[in-house]
Assembly symmetry: C2
């Protein structure tokens, strides 16, 4: 196999510059959407339907779906629960179809659907995800969900760790500056990942709302082997 | 003075999320637009009119302006010269009005014109620029021109150096993740700045076109005290 190209896109606002119908896109939204999605599949959810807007979320609830939905860290009042990974417990989600809408993460999943495959990345499934990607023989674009079009440190560091792993496999090469930056940030952070994430704006936002209990969990390596992948309008486990 | 907020925007694609009519915007396009602009003012240019499109560039030439214009490193065939800082020599530019259009840098200058002030930043004028900004008592947004909406390493590192200097003044604080990332990258790069920039995509692009002779110069600190600022549709020296 020839080496395939590896790119990172730090914000959905720049996704157009990276979009490629032949690429595998990895969506990363560490705090908290992609960590929660990995957790839901580890806990036996049947499928997750990402919905971008509040109106779509309301409609899915009316159609009988279990609904996880928040904006800016607040649960939408008609939703069943919000965006903490701890909400997606086996008792709640096993065998169920869940509609899911968040501030940042779910919008980019729909935006990336033009690409060959869209998979969900987090610290929780990093090794399994990288192993699967290495077998695909395709260009890879890791997209950081960020925060309202802005760069997010916790997503960039996780993207850097994924990129480093992929480059180490020898199956990828890169001429993408974001990959160099993200792997350098990961190497700054790696010896004290939680300490490094202390300065992330999202860490403060979650603390201010009392939602930061999940942060250590969201930065735990390899809790699960699940690889959520977008098939049509919904995420299923590979 | 209370501390003012400091942000970095890594790509013009995300500028909307950072735009603020009360802010001072610093545009950074190290290779090569903002380095060339600082050089031009150091060499006595009277004013520089940034133009975003090829059509506007053609029109300015027809109106009698000296025209510096390139796309993807190639001089537009009707332009007087291209985007190397070495083109903006005293013999050529002293006392002249120059219309200027580049692949990335000049577009964001026009986009940022909604903000309170737009100034031009580079390694060449870093200390003078920071000293002036510290006296403004305003929110600051440093915008990296990047490459066709993508993140550029050389701009991020320069933005990080500017941000570090501003934070050290005690007059600014930040809750912007891009500032943390950029200052960390600057600290990775600072002991061997030119060596670090070797991996930047723009470094390779310029080498491939034989245009990389200006790279060491573009990474030289404090060659000039000029601070180019946008006034209406043109840049003048403060």
């Amino acid at each position: 196999m020839t080496q395939k190209s590896l790119e990172i896109c730090f914000t959905p606002a720049a996704f157009e510059a990276h979009a490629d119908s032949e690429a595998v896109v990895v969506v990363v939204d560490v705090l908290r959407a992609t960590s929660s999605i990995c957790t839901a599949f580890a806990n036996g959810v049947r499928e997750i339907i990402p919905v971008a807007t509040v109106e779509e979320a309301r409609e899915m609830k009316a159609r009988g779906y279990l609904l996880a939905a928040e904006r800016d860290g607040y649960i939408l009042d008609f939703a069943d629960f919000g965006n903490s990974p701890f909400n997606f417990s086996p008792e709640r989600v096993r065998g169920r179809s869940v509609a899911y809408s968040t501030t940042n993460g779910t919008g980019i999943m729909k935006q990336a659907a033009v690409c060959h495959d869209v998979v969900i990345g987090s610290w929780l499934n990093l090794s399994a995800l990288c192993k699967w990607i290495e077998g695909q023989d395709r260009k890879v674009v890791i997209v950081c969900a960020g925060w309202k079009k802005r760069f997010s440190l916790e997503d960039a560091v996780c993207a850097g760790a994924i990129a480093e792993r992929l480059l180490e496999s020898g199956r990828f090469s890169t001429i993408c500056d974001s990959v160099h930056a993200a792997t350098d940030l990961w190497n700054v952070a790696r010896n004290d990942l939680l300490g490094y994430i202390e300065k992330a704006a999202q860490r403060s936002r979650l603390r201010d709302k009392g939602l930061d209990d999940c942060i250590p969990y969201c930065h735990t390596f390899d809790v699960t082997d699940v690889i959520p992948v977008l098939r049509g309008d919904r995420l299923v486990a590979l």
